[in-house]
Every structure is written in C-alpha cells, then in structure tokens.
Subunit: 496 residues, 4 copies
C-alpha cells in the first residue's frame, strides 16, 4: 500500500512500459500545462491532489503483472501479450473479461481507475474505421491499427476525449454563438489538420499518454468540420488542462491521512482546451464523414455503459466497509443490519448481472472484433444511475451518525483531547478506535467525499446521463414485436 | 390460435410424442383422480378451466418442432435430439439456451408453461445422484440416467414435486403433530418403497407424465425417512389431485371468450396427495441420504431461480399490451406514456440480464453437466419478486380506468345495449372497439385475473419466497472478502 | 355481519331515510334499466353481484347511526343533523372529519363505499355556483342549495357523474367525430334542458338516488353546450346503466361464500347512458358558463384526491389480514415478517398523513364553505397511485403461495377430499384450516380479486390518473420562489 | 446576505437578546474550550468554519424580528412574547406553527439551524417533570419552569444534549467496561450534583447558551445514576468541545467563496465532554427517576421526529437549485426535466404532509402543553431517512456532470485560464458563467459537501436512525385492531 516505494526505474521515452514504476516515470518531464488551485503544477504526479489518481491508473499496470490472465491478452496486431485495456476484443469472452477486470480494479482502488474510456474508444474505432473504409476507401482503418499497434508495443495509456461543452443544448455545432463549443478542424494542411475547441469532464487525461478525440453526438452535413477523430499526444503543443475541484479534495494534503478516507486512490476530472493543436495525417482517423458520427457514439456508449460494472467493484468496497463498520459498532448480528447488507449486495449484483449479460451477448463486427449487446448495456448503465445512491444511503445508515460528527485527526493526536476522544469512542473491545475512524472516513470518502464523485455522480452522468439511456432503451426495445405478441394472445386479428 | 384444430392422431402409450397433438392424446384415458368445483373431472384436458394450461404445456412441444435449435438439444444419453426440457446440460451455452427458450415461451403463452420444474429437477438430480454415488456407492446415478433416457425416448413431460405442506414451520418433519406433513417412506419392500404425504403448489402436475418427488429442505439424521427422491407416473394408484381455484378462473367457461383476456393459455396449480403410493426400486433415486437433502434443494433452486426469466417473456407481452392500449387510446405519443414504457422495459430487461448472467457463468459438476451461478440466480429471482408488480402497475396506468369498469361481452352482444356501448367507446378511428376491449381484458387477465397468478404471485413465491433468496444472498455474498478490501483501502492493518 | 337481517321497514318515497334498512327499501321498485350478464336485472340489490356494493353504501348509514359524531354534522341549510356525506363543510375541522369517516368506512367494508364523489361534488358546487353567481347573477347558488336542502331532509345518496368517454383524447368535445362523446345539452326548453351523452366509470351509480352531472375538463367557448351541471334522479327516463364486469365477480354467486373473500362488501362501477334526459330548470346548476368548467374540475379533484385516504382504511384491513395470515402460518415472530408489516404501516400512514394535512390546511371560500389544500391533495392521491400496490405485494408475500393454489370450497366440503385437505393444511395448532382459508381468500379478494379493483386500479385512476396529479403538482409547486431561495443562498444577484 | 454587517451592539450578559447582533455579541468572551484542526479556538464565531453555523442560528433571531407571528409566541410563563423556539406549546396550532417556522428557516439557510433540539426538549420536559411530580412530589416541574422563564426572559439558545457514546451497544450503562460511556451523576452534594461523561453528535452546542442534558434511552433500576436531567451553561467549568470535521469544510476558508456553495450557512456538530461538571440543585430536573427515562425519550423523539420537516425547507432550496440549473443549462423545457422536478416536489411535500399531520393531531398533556401524534411523527422522520437522498440524486441528475468536474475559483480568476473557461462554459445566453458555477457549487454543497451532512446524513440519523422509527411504528400501529377488522370481513368468528 505504499505505491511510491518503487524500485530504481530506467524507463526512457519510447521504451515499453513494463511496470507501474515505468508508468510513473513515463509521466515525468512532460511539462504539461496543468492548472490547479491557482498554480501551474509542474509534475502533476507529485501533487498530493493528483497523486491518488496516478496511483489508481498505475493499478491497471500492477494488475496486468500480478494477474496477466485477467488483465492482459494476446494482441492480433503485434502478436504479443498486451494490457487488456489496449486489446481489441477477439471474442465474446474477451468482452466479458473486460468486465471481470473492471470489477477487480474497482475492488482494488475503490474509485475510478480512468482507463476504460480508452479501451472502449479503440474497440469502437476499430470497427468503425473499418466500416467507413468500406464506403469511402478512406484508409482510416489501416492508419488506426498502425497507430494502435505502436501504442500496444509501448504499452501506453489512451484517454478518450468525447464530451464537448455543447453551449446551448438546443443548437447544433454550427448554430452556436461560438463555433468552438464543439471540437473542430480549423485548418487542413497537406501533412495534417489543426483542431480547436475543448473537451470537458475528461477522466484521467493528465495521467494518459494519448488522447483519442471523437465527436460527441449525431452530426448533420453542415457539421462536417466537427466530424473529426484524431489521436493526440497528451503533451502536444496547444493543450491546456484545468483540474476540477471536488468535494474534500484538499484532505489529500493532510499528513497522516486517516481523514482522507482512501489515502491512496482517487479519480481525476479535467477540462482540456485545444488551442489550435496540429495533428499529422497518420493520426487522423476521421475527417468530415459526418454520417458516421452517430454510429461511433452509439458503439462507444454501448461498450462504455457496460464498462460501468467497475462500480460493482467499488460497491464491493463500500459494502465491505459498511459491514465492517457494523461489526466495529457491535451490531453486525442485528437482523436489520444483516438485511441491509443483503439489500446492498442484491443491488450491486443486479448491476453486475446486467453488465455481464451485455458482454456475454456480444456479436462480431465485420472488422472482426466483438461488441456487446447494446440494449443490455443501457440497462446496466441505467441501473448504475440509481443503485449506488441507495447502496450509499444504506452504507451511511450502517455507519451511524459518527460518520459526520467525527472529530479530525489533529484532535485525536492532541495530547490533551486525544485520550478523551479515545476513551469515549471505545466500545470496550479490542477494536482500536483508530480502526473505527478509518472505516468511517472511508465511507465518508465514498458517499460524500472525494470518491463520491466517482461512485455517485459519475455513475449518474458518465457515459451519458439517465435520459440518454432511456432514449436508447426506447429505440432498442422493439415495441412492435411486443405489441404483436399481445395482440396475438388477446385474439386481435391482423387487420391493422 | 385454435390449438384444438389438430390433425388425426395415432399416438399410443409408449410411442414417442412427436407433436402437440400426440401430447394431447397422451393425456387422455388416464383416469386421474382430479377434483375441481365439486366434481371428479374425467378428462381434465376437456375441462374449460384446465384446457388453457394444457395448451401452454403443448406450446413446449410446438416450439421444439418450429424452432428445434432453440427448443431441442442432442442428448448424450440417447444420442438423439430431445426436447430441451428433457436435456441434461452439456455446456454453459446449454444453460443459456434454456433461458432463451423460456423467454420465448413466455412470449408465446403469456403465462406459466409449467415444464421448467422438471427440467431443473433432472439437471439437479443428474449431478446430485452422481455425487451421492461417490460417497455411498448407491447406484442412484445409473438408475436415474436409465429412467431419464427412457423418458427422453418417449419425449414425456416431467413435473417436479418439491413443496411439502410443512405444518408448523418452526418444527422439523419428525416433530410435527402429524408425520405425514412431509412426504416420507412409510414402508420399504424388497421391490420398492411406499410413500405417503402431499405436495402443494404443484405446477402443471395434471399435465405431466411423471413426477419427480424430492425433499423440500435441509434434513437432520432423524428425518431419514423423509430423504426420499422417487419418480412416479402421474397416473399411479394412490394419487389424488385437487385443482386450485384462482382469480377469474370461471371466465374460461364463457363462450365467446373476449372477457377471458387470454383465451388460449393459463397456468395450473394443484395439490397432490400421496396415499401410500408404491414406487419400484428402479425409480428410487434417494432413500435415506438425509445429508444430501440441503444440497439437492440448493442445486434445484439455483437452476430454478434463474428459470424465472420466463417472466420476462410474459413481461414482453404485458409491455406490448400496455403500449398497444396506449396506441388504441390515442396517447402513445405522450411523453409520460413513452417514459412509462421505457421503465417497464428497463425493469424487464434487468431481470433478464441477471438471469442470463447466471446461466453464462455456469460451471461443470463432476457428473459432467453444467450448473448456473447460484448468487446471480438468487439475484435474478429476487428481482422477479419485485419488478413484475411495478410493471403490472404501470400497465394498469397505461390501460386507464376502463380496465375495471368495462361491461361484459353479453352487454356488447346485446342488440339494444351493444350499439350504445360501441358508440360511446369509439375513439373515432379505425380501431374497432372490440380490439380495445380485447387488449384491456388481456391486461386485466395478467394483472388481476387468472394469469396474474403466474405473473405476480408465482413470481413472488415460486422457487422460494423473497426471504429464501435473501438468506442465500447473505450466504453467497462473501462478506469477509469485501471487508478485507475495505480495510485495505482504509489503511487498517491486519491485526484482527 | 348479516346485513340482510333487517327489521320491518315502513319507509316510503319522500320519507326521511333513517336507517340502512330504509336505505335498502328506497332502492326497491325503481325499475332502473340495469344491464348485467346479458340480463336487465329488475331489482339490482337482490342480484348477488350487486348486493355487496349496496351493503358498502349502506354502511354509510349505519355509521351515522352508530357514531353520529363521526359520520353526521349539523347542517346550516336545514338546521338539523345530516349525514356527513351530505354536509357542506363549515370549518377545517369538518374537512378533516371527512377523512376520519372515510378511513373508518374503509376499515368497516374493505372496499369502496361509493359515497365520496357526491360529498365532494356538493362541496365543489356550493362554492362554485356562488362564484358563478357573482359574475353572472345566474341564481345557480340558490337553486343548488334549495335542491341540496331537500336531499339533506330526505337523507338521500348523491352520486357524482363526471367522467365522459372522451373519444379521441387529442380533440375537444366539438371536434369529436360524434358530438355525444361528452355529455351536452341537446335541447333547451322553457322548463328545462335535455341532455345526451354518457358517463363512464360511475362509482355506485345504481346505489344512488341522485346523480350530479358535471363537465370533466377545461372547456373552450365553442364547447358551451358541454358546460352543463344538472342533478338527475337515478330513475329518470332515458337513463341506461351497464354494469361493469370485474375480476372474480361471479364468486359472489357461490353459496357458502368462503371463496368470495369478502362476503359482504364490494364496489360498483357502471357506465351510464343519457338518452335525451329531461332536467327541469330547478335542477340545472350550470348551463353554458364554459369559463368555470376548469375551476369546477379543479375544486372537485382537490376535494376528491384527498378523499382517497379511504384507501388507508382498506389498507388497515389488508395489513391486518397479512399479519393474521402470518400468525396463522406460525411465522409472525420472524424478523422479516415484522419488518414487512412495519413497511406496510409506514406506507399506509404516509398516505394518511398527506391527506390529513391537506384537510387541516383548508381555507374558506367566499361562499362560506371550507376547501382543502390543493397541492397536498395531489400529493396524497399521487401516493395512493403507488403505495397500495406495494402494500398489496407485501401482503401477498406474507400470505404465501397458498394464496393462489388453494382448492375451492366445494373440495373442502367434499366428504372424500375435504378431510385430506384439512389434514394436510393443518398446522397442528388450534387454528381451524377454515380460518386460514378465509384470510387467504380475503387477501386474494383485495389484491387480485374483486376488491383489488377498488384497492389498486381505482387507487391509480380514480379522481384522475397519475399524470393528472403531476400536472397539478407542477402548477402548484411555486418553482419561482424556490429558485429565488436557491439563488439567494448561492449568492447570485438579482440581475435576471 | 452580509450577516456580519451589523449595527453597534451594546448587549451585556443578562440582557435580553433582542437581535441577531445581540446574539452574536452574547457568544463572545466565553472562553469555551473548543478544539478544531489542532487548535483551541478562542472565539468560535470568528473561525471561518464555525461562522456559518452561527449565521444559521442567528437566522432564528432574525426571523422572530421579521415575522413575529411565525417565529414568536406569547408565553404563559412570563406573559410576554418569546421566540417560538423557547415557547411551551399551548395548542395544536402552536405545534403546527413550529413546523411552518422550521420549513421557513430551512428555506432561509439551506442547512440545519440547530435550535429545534432545545425547543423539543423543553416541551418534553415541561410535561414530563409535571408527570414525575405527580408520582414523586419531586418539585421538578416548578424548578424547570422557573429556569425556563428566566431563559425566556433573556431570549437565550438552549441546546439539547441526549446522545451518549454508548460503548458496546449490547450492554446497559452499568455493564460497560467504562462507567462513563453514559453521562451520570458521580457525586451528590448538598447544593447540587456533579456529572461526568460525554455527549456525541451535539448539534449547535457551541452556538448555544444552555445545554439540557437528558438520558438517551430506557434505563433499568440499576442505572439510577444515569437517570439525570440537568441544565448546564455552555461555558460551565469542566466542559470540552471537540468540533467535528466534515466534507469540504475547509472550503469555507477560501476568500471569494463561490466554491463554498452556500457562503453564509452551515450546520455544526460537536462532541461534548463533561469532566465532572457541577450543577446546582435549581438546575437539576431529574436525578434517579430511572422509570421515566424511556418516557422522556419517547416524548422528545415524538416532537423531534416531526421537527424534521425543516428538511422540506432545505428541500425547497435544492429543488429550486436544480430547476435553476436546468434553466441555466437551457433544458428547463424538456419533459424529463419537468418530470424530475415534479418528483422532487412530490417527495418533499410527502414529508411535509406527514409532519404537519402529526402536529395537527396533537393532544394535550396533563401539564397543559400540547404534544404531536407519535405514530405520524415516526412516519414523517422515516420518510426523511429516504426521500432527501432521492431528491439529492435527482438534483445531481439535473445539475449535470459539470457538478463534479468544475474547475476551482482560482482558475476562473486566472488571467490566462479564466477567459478560456468562460469562453467554453458559455451557453451563448445572458446567463453569466459565474451564476452557473454558483448554482452548481450550491448543489454540490447540499449533496456531497458540507450541507450534505445536514440534508442527507443527519436526515438519516438525527432524532434516531431508521430502525428506531421502525421499532416505534411497530409499537404504535395497533395491529390487533387491524387483525380484528380483517377477521370480521373474512367471516372468521371470534373463537380465538
């Protein structure tokens, strides 16, 4: 649990990243323009607010080392094992394996480990560039796979960048008062394109090596310049990163760390501004094919909405924390306590079931890769927008009022006040009061602190807000079939 | 939709049943002691209350003919295709295929088609008799497979008989005031055993050819005589069947049938009394091995709780009916109507997802067959105890108040009153008022009439009542793992 | 519990009704055109399907005798005590007293006692006719109170008739393909008007003496002929009544009655057709004042949506039945059983709280009578559209599977089968099996049988379907105030 | 909204507090031992983390000035108007008025204003000391009213101190490993008593003038020393206050304050340690009467559980904030947005209804004061443990993902980054980006920041955790009545 205690690292740019230590090394010296709390922070991974998010991403490397079967796969592109987050799915089992890996990482970190967007983006683009090629002979697919093969070789982190600011939501990109409210190509050169705009809500951007920039919604012909997919190095000139401020984030600056709740791990949300960023042709995977934007978004959200089973791993942690708190409080045997834990498990596994079923029900795209069932993916995500809130409420129920009245660590460390607090918070058992404090601070962290962002609000809005799922469910539900079934059983003839 | 319009049938006892018509023929002439409405009914399938349940069972034969890939499978026992309801699962895909078939049959019938209990029972016993043999050299497995092979050859219906009356629920079988409140062996002869007792809530018993009698719960050593598994022909001497009376069941006696709602299909629930029924040794698959009773029940309920995805097929019908009603009423475009349909679909697919995931996550038993994931099966069934009620409520919402104030068919047929009703219930469109009536009566049938039994109450209590699932979820949730995850992230050392 | 065992009755038309026996007598000899099951039934109160609804209405007379403080009040119109259902509210306490009486009658009957619509209609019209008079000098208020005084003197039942068939819901009355789809004045004579049309979903119509016909929604100037309020005797020439067919209604025709569930009481829903019914001027309380239609509907639904606290009385019965069933089954002490009962009570009292609060928060109209708070009335009714379904689900949970597999009373009475059933359904206690059967049939009656109509579907649609409440809640919520509060606390200046 | 901009204050100890400014002055110079963030803070009201809680309490004085009818009442003790928080209820209307005042203060502050515990404590003790006197001639009632009269005269704040640490929850006070885990009398002197122990979760303690110390649960005879009720000045020697650390509390230390969300108001939760505090006899209102402890707790929780309608005032703010955010985002007209706001209002008013009904249904105690209905109070509070979480979830839904990815105010103020952020977060309307930020930070504050403590977790645990309400609901539901109603309707004779 001391992620900074790393061996000597000799990694250099271009080398394959072979460990979490290499990964950390790879983030140094990039001179990114990252703004946080009024400062441009030179090495984000050294900043106490950023570091926990680097740790969470690093866990994706650690798991690949510790459990390669779970977190790596054989790539058809480079004919070598690659981190599963960089793998193009070759079977339904591969799609399912993503879910198992996501749950495990949720359990390990208790937060968002930020690498799923890239995984889902490469799988969407793998099939989409292939399909675009069929119609347009664009050559995008070859470009894309060539780029991806190199990323696999170096074992890099890809972030996906989809969500534009959108301005006035009732207007299309070209109708906005400012044409930059969606990312667009502002110049086409012989050797590449120049893009401008911003992407908001970017998960793990600063911890990535590449960003895959994609359009965020269905486009019309007049939006042609907005139909752009490019890969951009995170350190490319013209990029500015503004770090979001979240609940209780400054707790990570405390020394001892009990009150942080989860001392090692947190998510990361950044606003990224593209101030005329040049992208060479070899990294342009769509430019102007507006007809395919909706399809790309649908494929991506299909993968990504089922990726939210990661929250069941986080759910395992919060259920465990609540059960542990009840045990520390001496009430683990009460029937209502046991019943609440069953309810939490039931809700958590219901999410898992719908996500897993979506992955199992995968089908093969003409490009050869496998894609999960879209309807069930939306069902999964829609459950994710509801159940974590109820799980969180039940965790707070089991935690008790001390969750929000607990004195801070300085008071417990105070020679005069500390012993009094220890005296009065003792349950007379061998459970140290510090352990009770730690578990309560973890539950606070996950339900109203820094990781509530990932467990609750991101569960609501990530991969599309609830209404986006409802729109998709309506489209995919095949109501005419269902109505025909009903008419048949009701004995209504087919005269309509 | 006229299931009785059948070709000439030449089936004779012992022949393979090759069609729904054969199946109907096989039910005739058995002289069962079936009691209903104060009568012993000679040919149940001719009774208007029973006939719809025969039709539902017959659909399992029809589907095997119409879609053999879905509803049949190659048997390793007889090396020939068999109805999937008689098949021992040879892969996870086989387990999944059961779910797909169940949903389809739910869509076709809008009710309980009654054949899942037998399917789940043979799969449980296939592995359990094998495991019992390992410990006891009982030879049960060979006996069981030999019997099953013959049933497969003849393509018969097996009903599973598990639920004893239980008497005082706080007492074990031997502690009851009457030792017969659980089925037991009352005599052991050289050539077989004699069993006495009753089984309640028997689904489709009268429509079956064989009953597989099994214990209903964990047994103690003193309950040895109750640890009995036998196969009994439905027509065996000593068996009495008492048909249950259900909501609106007499509507099936009307002539025109609009008010029945679902004119063709219904479920069947029977109380079966075993008045010293003799079972030859070759049909005895457990006798006294009380230690295995709990395991058998757990295997059976694991299969069976995920079999409740059949209700998503029924759910498809009710969703379709509600959508159709809204369309007939002219309100299909209202945003709240569309939103309610999305909610219904969401709940229905959530059930499907958890069931399907359970089946996909199957593992192989030493006997060779595959069994689904127990935790997810309980999750599936637990959702089934909740969501159909909400789906039903939403269907009633979309149906409107006419659902419960609609005049009866005699009034619509009345030369004086009928035209007035048609005048006042017209919406001015081409939709005949009769179609509106039919769809409303179908929704009534499924939410408060005869098939509400299957869609609602059986969803609650079949395969174990809600609390039974909660007990299993508590046992299978692996809380100690979850607590360890939480302690690790909270920084709590492993001193406990 | 033998409501037919009545003393000698000497009541004659025009006499004051002084007892339930008088009330029954008053229903005889009216030669109403009531159609049910293909017959015109001469004396509805003698028909086994209708009789239970007469009993429920009669309970409103019995309660006024047995507990006059609860169910009667001093009328300012006739300066004598009147049945509270005929009373114009003189204080907030009067409005609250209606709720207490409604709950009590729900407890007494376990169903809809059908007299609230009239009570809410007279209170709405009392103030509305007054307000119309202020603008139009119509004299409606005097006419109305004069008529009402006479009804009070005779202690008659008033039914309210509001819901028109509506045809195509996207069209106004005059836009329909048939102008009769809303009740309207088709002829104006010197001494009165002639009305034509129909009213659907009429609760208790056949059991009433008068119907107050009112428009069902907001009207436009072109709908002037539809803006009509009249009082019509139930036996007026030109009226046809078509009785609705409901779940399990024919059970009431069985002799012994155990399987009916609730042998004495049920609701009544009728379609009423007005085939050119003449109404003398003295009974016309609105004719053409289309501007007031929306206001009348709003006042009526405000009263009536809070009248649905009657369902908490029915809820008391179903909670009691579930608790009794659990006790009979021997599981009353299980913690999950106790917890489910608490949940049922919680939901039931939540409904009661919102209804009661609405009544307590009454305000005085210029006419002098008191009207409850509209927002809270909508809240109350909206809870009623949800909670009874969950209460019903929990009742079915506690009832167990026997609820839907229980044999019929003929089988229990059968000399051969009956003793076997009694043997196997015994719990070894002193509880007779018949008592268990009775309580299960009552729960069946209330959750999927005849009184499920009143407890569930009518809870959904009566006094307006769920969406109607949401529209009203949106209008009455005063969002601009709430937004201002938020802006103030967020420190947003008032520049908008 | 600048609560510190106060006129010159001349208040001196002993003077009547006549304004919020006087109140602030009264908190100065008390030299309390308050510990927070490793320091003993000399003047809490000057500490940026404490100040917002002082402002919230001060609002109770402001409202009494601005709307005396709502927030003050005529006292029978001093025959003068007093702040309603100090008033002994003289009618059901008085009890209802408390609810109206609480909602208004919730709307004004968006948080817990901390003065209800004292109000509910004085009303409970007013009747309880009277009842104790009847049995014991203790003279407590006279002592209590004498003290209260003086508090009314000076217009002071009373905090109620009930919740002991409790140690091992399966043990009584005397069975604990440390006898101090419940507050107790450790010494009885001729002129008073000495108490020792601690009270946790003390709301507003540091902002009060007096604490009313009460036992926390039912006591046995052996717990006699724990049956103690005393009034203690907040500045009494021997008292130590340890301030709790809550989510995002340090945001209050920022200068500009946009990111605080609610710049002015917050709650306060403190652990209070009683290190042998002397209490003179005149302030002892119970000492040893263990039989009355349960009754006192029940009266207090009855008042207090209905006091949680304050959360509907906070709910008004969060609903307003969500509606405002939707408007700023340009989506206020979307049907799903409007529907979610209706749902929030519905849930909020459902809470209000149950609380209000409880108050309206008040009864008079022999002491003369009025007490609300206990069952409905528990219903109200139980809804409070559920609905604010769903309201909060819906508010986050309407707020959008920006809620948790928004950059901090330093970045918006940065001359380089700020304009970029303003450019990209513009919606092209006249809505300043700063207003959007402010409303989002308010929603963050209320759902996962500092005031989430009051709106969510305190809603769960204050006045007793959910299970405490369920226990009371079970006791107050009168199941035997309900069972009798069911048996009667089922036709079950009274042989049991």
């Amino acid at each position: 649990m001391d992620p900074e205690a790393q061996p000597q690292v000799t990694w250099r740019p271009g080398d394959r990243i072979t460990s979490a230590a290499d990964y950390r090394a790879s983030l140094r010296g990039r001179d990114l323009a990252v703004h946080l709390m009024g400062e441009r922070i030179s090495e984000p991974l050294d900043h106490p607010i950023v570091a926990p998010s680097v740790n969470a991403m690093a866990a994706t490397y650690e798991l690949a080392e510790d459990d390669p079967q779970l977190a790596s796969a054989e790539s058809d592109l480079i004919h070598a094992p690659v981190n599963r987050f960089l793998h193009v799915t070759g079977s339904a089992d591969d799609v399912v394996a993503q879910n198992r890996m996501q749950r495990r990482l949720g359990q390990m970190t208790g937060t968002c480990f930020q690498r799923c967007v890239g995984m889902d983006a490469i799988n969407s683009l793998f099939s989409l560039t292939y399909d675009v090629d069929q119609g347009t002979h664009s050559g995008y697919h070859a470009r894309f796979t060539s780029w991806l093969a190199e990323v696999q070789r170096q074992n890099l982190v890809i972030g996906g960048a989809m969500t534009d600011p959108k301005g006035d939501r009732s207007k299309s990109p070209t109708q906005q008062h400012d044409p930059d409210l969606f990312v667009r190509v502002v110049e086409r050169r012989s050797d590449g394109v120049v893009v401008r705009g911003a992407k908001v809500h970017q998960t793990g951007a600063v911890n990535s090596h590449w960003m895959l920039v994609m359009p965020t919604m269905r486009l019309a012909e007049s939006d042609r310049d907005y139909a752009v997919v490019v890969a951009v190095p995170v350190g490319a000139p013209g990029l500015t990163y503004v770090y979001g401020r979240q609940a209780s984030d400054t707790r990570a600056m405390s020394q001892q760390g009990i009150d942080v709740g989860n001392a090692c791990f947190a998510g990361q949300e950044v606003t990224v501004i593209f101030d005329d960023v040049f992208v060479p042709t070899e990294h342009v995977f769509m430019d102007g094919e507006w007809q395919y934007a909706a399809d790309l978004v649908e494929r991506f959200t299909s993968y990504h909405r089922r990726s939210y089973v990661c929250k069941t791993g986080v759910g395992d942690v919060i259920i465990g924390a609540a059960a542990q708190a009840a045990e520390y409080h001496g009430v683990a045997g009460a029937s209502h306590v046991k019943d609440k834990i069953v309810e939490m498990v039931h809700l958590n596994e219901t999410i898992y079931g719908s996500g897993l079923a979506s992955s199992f029900e995968s089908f093969q795209r003409p490009a050869g890769n496998f894609e999960n069932n879209g309807l069930l993916a939306n069902i999964c995500k829609h459950n994710v927008t509801r159940f974590p809130y109820e799980i969180g409420r039940l965790a707070q129920d089991l935690a008790g009022g001390l969750l929000v009245t607990l004195p801070g660590e300085e008071e417990f460390d105070d020679p005069e006040v500390g012993p009094l607090l220890d005296k009065y918070l003792s349950t007379g058992t061998e459970i140290p009061v510090e352990d009770r404090r730690r578990i309560l601070r973890l539950i606070e962290n996950m339900t109203m602190g820094r990781n509530a962002v990932g467990y609750l609000t991101e569960s609501l809005h990530g991969a599309g807000s609830p209404q986006a799922q409802r729109v998709q469910i309506a489209r995919q539900a095949d109501l005419s079939d269902k109505k025909a079934m009903a008419r048949r059983l009701a004995g209504i003839p087919d005269h309509h």
